[in-house]
Symmetry: C2
Subunit: 200 residues, 2 copies
């Protein structure tokens, strides 16, 4: 693999994207950044990680729209969720500067697109596979799991669209998109490693 290649993983909630990222980072012996980014942002803003996790994905229209319309000019201060996005983006860029790593979520593909070489991956799975995985995590409560999957993926999509102005899951944003329900967690890890060898 090229030195300084950053692998970004976007993923449907329930598709096993975090697990794939973790195994990938381990196999490649590079750092993994996921919830760690939230924690770091928490440190920098003085807010608790729980507070950020809850508030980071609340927004209206789009960041660019709000900035263009001067919607923030009266107070001169960005809403909290925008501040968090900006702090997290800075943290992601600093991680990327340190060299090869795996970054899960946080719109990292967009944050890094202009200044870093990335392999951008999207992991998805059929609904029944996501449901099975999340139901297991919630001790067999399929109803709660189904609700959580729907809501979390809706928020991920909304956040990505808001922050990047692009569409979450749109193939044009990624180098490869893998169905973990069909290829398996380890299968996806191996395919991403192979793809990382191929990008020019």
């Amino acid at each position: 693999m090229k030195s300084n290649l950053i692998i970004t993983i976007s993923r449907e909630f329930g598709s096993g994207g975090h697990e794939i990222g973790a195994k990938l980072a381990e196999k490649l012996s590079v750092p993994l950044y996921d919830k760690e980014i939230i924690d770091k942002a928490a440190e920098q803003t003085g807010l608790s990680a729980e507070y950020i996790a809850e508030h980071e994905q609340r927004y209206t229209s789009s960041l660019m729209f709000n900035l263009a319309m001067g919607n923030y000019s009266r107070t001169g201060e960005l809403p909290l969720h925008d501040q968090i996005d900006i702090v997290q983006s800075e943290i992601i860029r600093n991680y990327a500067k340190e060299g090869s790593c795996v970054i899960v979520g946080r719109c990292a593909d967009y944050v890094l697109e202009d200044d870093f070489e990335c392999l951008n991956v999207f992991i998805y799975a059929p609904d029944e596979v996501k449901l099975e995985r999340i139901t297991e995590r919630y001790s067999g409560d399929a109803r709660t799991a189904a609700k959580l999957i729907k809501e979390t993926n809706r928020m991920r999509s909304k956040h990505y669209n808001y922050f990047t102005g692009k569409i979450w899951g749109d193939r044009q944003n990624y180098d490869l998109m893998l169905n973990s329900g069909r290829l398996g967690i380890d299968g996806c890890v191996e395919m991403i490693i192979q793809a990382a060898e191929k990008v020019d």
Copy 2:
């Protein structure tokens, strides 16, 4: 690779999907079916291949909608484009029955989904890569190429949506989606071979 695995390749026009399919079939020593399907359909219907190629993708609303509404009942005859779809589907199923093969386009993922084991692949590429490839094919006429790319992909999408009731390029229809502009033609071929080893 499993015996009797059918690899279907859906592809954006200009992404090199046909070339990937051809190289893949050669490497796996299995038959490739692409334009051949049109020719076979032509033989069976007594229509010329040119006529079919021109008419196969003209339609309104959706096939299921038209059938459900009884829109065809007065004459008892399906419009030509629906007849062609049905003949081609039968040909695809007959190819699949013969064993492993690579089928490019023709909604093969949908035609075979209930009765055959398939690895469903979607090949795409950034606009500039598609434009470069097609411009080259048309002796440097970028304007004609751009128009052709837009129109062909619009028709592929429309035909897929009409015939299958699903959305062309929607990740839920595929096992893996590869950006040939980033991974290269040979890179895609190798990744599909690897994926074919992994499906359970």
